[in-house]
């Protein structure tokens, strides 16, 4: 059984998960001890506010030197994720800083709604062009309108389009690597046919910000008229974004 930490962020509170991220624990931690609910259900589900986590972790970014970080699940007045940050100090002793983030431990009966989302069946899957090229384009498109139309074909063509009462703008990318849909339709599939979905441009722009950790791979699965399923893959981290189609 692989040992991983999963982050699941619900977007718009919809049943369709906004973000699903898997972090292989061996990549991050020297020591990893956990004991789940039982031997059979060896997992712990915690609910927390991402802002709290972000604030605590930002300290690690700004500090000049942090010796170690220990994360524990503790019970103070209520359940907490306790971060113990050890930094060197002027004296020979280390300085220990503790941050407590309140969490809610989710009972097993709720676990099913947080399961890893099944890969939705897509019409077309392709590698995205380099995010550093996509980012400025989508940022400018965002200034032009709130809705982005994404279309792709088996021939490796990707089209991003935005429309407003002032202008319509479309950017074409070609020669992208595509991945088989795997349900046996590819042989007959028209290579030129473009499959389309309309999404809110804001979450798409946010996804592109993932460029900052230089992912090895970025993939787009297009589920026509339903959803964009985007992946960022980097070493031992995978990030999955689910952007539902917006109501016209």
């Amino acid at each position: 059984m692989h040992q991983a930490v999963h982050l699941c962020y619900q977007y718009f509170g919809k049943a369709c998960k906004g973000l699903w991220c898997e972090l292989q624990q061996g990549h991050f931690f020297n020591e990893y001890n956990m004991e789940g609910v039982s031997a059979e259900f060896n997992e712990i589900y915690l609910e927390l506010k991402p802002d709290n986590l972000a604030k605590t972790l930002s300290i690690l970014k700004s500090s000049t030197a942090v010796r170690s970080l220990k994360i524990k699940l503790t019970r103070k007045h209520s359940a907490c994720l306790t971060f113990e940050i050890e930094s060197p100090s002027q004296t020979s002793l280390s300085r220990l800083c503790t941050h407590d983030i309140p969490v809610a431990v989710l009972p097993r009966r709720l676990w099913a709604s947080y399961a890893e989302p099944r890969m939705p069946q897509f019409q077309v899957s392709c590698d995205l062009p380099p995010l550093r090229l996509l980012r400025p384009v989508v940022e400018r498109m965002r200034a032009l309108g709130p809705r982005l139309t994404v279309s792709a074909s088996h021939a490796g063509r990707l089209l991003l389009r935005v429309e407003s009462d002032q202008a319509s703008v479309a950017t074409h990318f070609c020669g992208l690597r595509t991945h088989p849909a795997g349900h046996g339709q590819d042989q007959e599939a028209d290579q030129q046919q473009m499959f389309e979905v309309h999404v809110d441009i804001k979450p798409f722009a946010m996804f592109l910000a993932g460029d900052q950790f230089h992912p090895a791979k970025a993939v787009c699965n297009l589920i026509e008229d339903r959803m964009l399923h985007l992946f960022l893959i980097h070493e031992d981290i995978t990030l999955q974004y689910f952007i539902p189609a917006c109501s016209s």
Binding site: P136, R140, M141, L144, Q166, A167, S168, V169, A170, F173
Partner: protein, 274 residues
Amino acid sequence: MLDTQEAEEDKQNVLVAKIDNVKNVSQLLKAVHFRESAMVVVTSDGLKVTVEDSKCVQANAFIQADMFQQFVLSEETLSFKINLSVLLDCLNIFGSGSTAGATTALKMCYAGEGHPLVIVLEESGVLTDCSIKTQLPEDIMEFSFNSSDVVNKAIVKSDCLREALAEMDVDCDVMELVFCPSPPRLQLSAVGAGMETKVEIGGDSELVELFQCPRTSSSRYRLAMMKLSGKPLAQSQKVSLRTDARGFLCLQYMIKTDDGHICFVEFFCSPEEE
């Protein structure tokens, strides 16, 4: 795109212009982008893009035809009104920063009144096509500023004027511009709300390339309008200031584009009545 297909489409257009580096165009448009709307007039000389405010200032960017690799105009003159913010967003679609090596090519097409301005941009094999609505042109102000009526003139380094303008306190309503012949100097002062900021630029200073001042002149302008003249300053190397007997001010900015073309933007401001 097949050559024949492109040629067919080009025949339907009254304007087809191509340039290898879009920055040469976007730079000049950015210099006059202090309002959303612009009037565009196209002649065989090129494009003149006009932005106005409050019936007292007007900025014109001149995008010369000889900057383009191809400039085909099948009518004597064209004019339309367009949303300049949207146009700039499209021209800068691949990013407005300078990327090492990569340049973005631009093709502009216009089929005449009622048709949108069609823009195609290409960078590293990626194509973006934009269709921007145009409106009927509106009359632009005529400042009747003639070289023969110029009273005083100075050419200064843009940085120098930019710093001077920045000193003018925004709480003041009015800016006064004074040309003095002896000792030769240019004075900018902002008065209002019980305070005064004054900046003096010596006519003999190394920042002043030319100073022609036969007699003292003093004119006042709305400070908020003068602050708008700071937009083209940021893009230019030097600027000429000229006033006429009516007190109208004409600023002419010399801008060197990305590819080294020397281009001009002018800015007119009408004086405040005493």
